[in-house]
């Protein structure tokens, strides 16, 4: 199985054995309550220098409130998993929280461009599907997974992928290195206090992120009982033992949507996109992050009950989004 081509991009070290040992020694195998505030969860579980994955994005069932909390706590030197996302990477770079990004798709914007030129931010190239595959490899406890895409691109040399001769078909096949982030944050519809969590509808990689990552924070629109989880186990997306903290975060995806629960706020979306395109998040961060101390305060002071009622009302489709 010859190696035919190798990307030269730096990538998070592939080490499934160490991840196994981490799971054995640090993951909460027993059922213990993990309910805590956003502040506490981020303080405890997001460390400077972490490889950091968030699932979905700031507009689509993403952990927007947790992203704001990470910025509020001025975390540093994060390495971002930049797949299927618009503004969050730019926000995190502009806020001084991140200096490396693996890119599937991000809203790049002038700020990141400047940071790259000034060597304050490093970029590694992938695609959305290769990044989700890397997380899947990480979630399967494997060192890599093969794929039939990404070869031949100009991203490949800036990645950690390799092309090898498949020992079965003798054809070239790409290998994507497993990704086991230090920390992942995921926003879900429902979770119990232990972290058994349900996502309704489509998603990107919530289960993969949870199983692949050393430390996992789940924020949930609703906290439900474990009895409710056990009533319909086919709906469980994430098992408790993958989860280190459960944060109750109603409207946690605002200004984004949580499908079946509330619509996005188009004004809020456009405001964030505008900041990104202008390459200036200062006013945005001031208003949406630094001006408040918590998500509760944010909802009360910045979003307001009228807006919350409106986006709930506008989400008229409920079919398929309940157990």
């Amino acid at each position: 199985m010859r190696i035919l081509e190798e990307g030269k991009g730096e990538y998070l070290k592939v080490d499934p054995d160490s991840y196994r040992a981490y799971v054995r020694d640090h993951k909460p195998h027993e059922m213990v309550s993990k309910l805590m505030s956003e502040k506490e969860a981020v303080e405890k579980l997001v460390h400077d220098g972490d490889y950091f994955a968030y699932d979905c994005n700031y507009f689509q069932r993403g952990p927007a409130s947790l992203i704001r909390e990470i910025i509020r706590q001025r975390k540093k030197n994060l390495w971002l998993c930049g797949k299927f996302t618009y503004v969050a990477c730019a926000m995190l770079v502009e806020a001084g929280c991140a200096d490396r990004i693996d890119i599937g798709f991000i809203g790049f914007g002038p700020w990141i461009a400047r940071a790259v030129r000034e060597n304050r931010c490093k970029i590694y190239e992938y695609s959305n599907a290769i990044m989700t595959l890397r997380l899947k490899a990480g979630a399967m406890g494997l060192p890599f997974l093969p794929a039939r895409s990404f070869g031949g691109t100009d991203g490949f040399p800036h990645s950690g992928c390799k092309i090898v001769e498949d020992p079965y078909s003798k054809q070239p096949v790409l290998l994507a290195p497993a990704l086991n982030p230090d920390v992942a944050i995921i926003h879900v519809h429902q979770a119990d206090e232990y972290g058994n969590a349900r996502v309704f509808g489509t998603g990107i990689t919530h289960q993969e992120c949870a199983l692949a990552s050393k430390r996992v924070i789940v924020s949930a629109e609703e906290i439900v009982s474990t009895d409710e989880i056990r009533r319909d186990p086919g709906r469980t997306s994430i098992p408790h033992f993958a989860v280190d903290a459960v944060v109750h975060a109603p409207f946690g995806a605002y200004p984004g949507t949580v499908q079946g629960y509330y619509a996005s706020d188009p004004e809020g979306v456009v405001e964030a996109m505008g900041a990104m395109f202008r390459g200036d998040f200062k006013a945005y961060l001031e208003k949406h992050v630094y001006s408040v101390n918590s998500h509760e305060e944010y909802l009360a002071k910045v979003v307001g009950t009228k807006k919350m009622a409106e986006i709930r009302r506008r989400e008229t489709i409920k079919e398929g989004y309940g157990a």
Binding site: G82, A113, R117, S149, D154, I317, Y321
Partner: protein
């Protein structure tokens, strides 16, 4: 009901063209929102109600409720309404790996002679000097794995180049055989490129070939807006303009806010001939 329209934008023209390529019996993977999704939604509302498509978030065969809120083309209740199946992104990639995706439709920033697509950087990559964009997103998987990829782009010199500044998503790379050499499945690749002014196919040597033009431009105008001279089909066809019915659906049901179509020039029917307005 199939009256040729007297007034439409270039964007509307290209959406309608692509929508007419769409077939009920095929499965599409639609990249992002914009023209590709609008084309498919239009097709579904004209004569292909059973059309099936998937998107990156692992939705199979939705009956989307349009219009969408800004950017809400995936992981949203309206975009994913009444799907046949809901899943996640790796599942969409699995289906594409398996060969279920007959056609992929992509909007592109820059495209070249071999159908290679750039959505990463215009200008120099190293040192971050070029103008940087968001990356391939899901487009790389579509371009690699769909049997036929339909590209949608602008008819502009800087977007239609001999060699893209950065291959974000693969076309035919360096020509026949080079996709396979890099591990991509055989029999796949770019199939059509649509611009508001023209439609291109590919010759057997994998090079772009002009096949048809819009009724409001000449071949010369098209070639003037390319950085290289494409191969030319033996006969250059004239594309049919949108019908009033198609435009009505597009404007009242799909692109209600004009987010997708409100760019580019307007075209009007004047003295029996289509030409740019104003």
């Amino acid at each position: 009901m199939s009256t040729p329209a007297a007034n439409f934008s270039e964007r509307e023209f290209v959406i309608v063209q692509v929508s007419r390529l769409v077939e009920d019996k095929k499965i599409y993977w639609v990249g992002g929102g914009g023209e590709p999704l609008s084309s498919v939604l239009l097709a579904k509302r004209t004569n292909m109600p059973n059309l099936q498509y998937l998107t990156e978030d692992g939705v199979v065969g939705p009956e989307a409720v349009v219009p969408f809120d800004p950017l809400m083309t995936m992981i949203s209740s309206r975009a994913n309404y009444r799907a046949l199946q809901w899943s996640t992104m790796n599942y969409a990639a699995d289906l594409a790996h398996l060969g279920y995706v007959d056609y992929g439709i992509l909007a592109t920033l820059q495209v070249d002679r071999y159908g290679n697509v750039n959505s990463t950087v215009v200008g120099k990559y190293e040192g971050g000097e070029g103008r940087r964009f968001g990356g391939p997103g899901g487009a790389d998987s579509i371009a690699a794995l769909a049997w036929r990829t339909i590209l949608v782009t602008d008819q502009q010199k800087r977007k239609f180049v001999d060699r893209v500044d950065f291959i974000s998503s693969p076309g035919f790379l360096d020509g026949p055989g080079s996709r396979e050499k890099h591990g991509l499945p055989p029999g796949t690749g770019p199939w059509r490129v649509y611009t508001p002014w023209a439609m291109f196919g590919y010759d057997t040597d994998c090079q772009l070939m002009l096949q048809a033009i819009a009724p409001y431009v000449t071949v010369e105008q098209v070639l003037d807006e390319m950085s290289f001279k494409p191969k030319m089909a033996k006969k250059i066809e004239i594309l049919e303009p949108p019908t009033e019915e198609e435009l009505l659906i597009l404007r009242t049901q799909i692109d209600v806010g004009g987010q997708v179509t409100d760019r580019g020039r307007w075209v009007e029917l004047r003295d029996g001939k289509y030409c740019f307005a104003g």
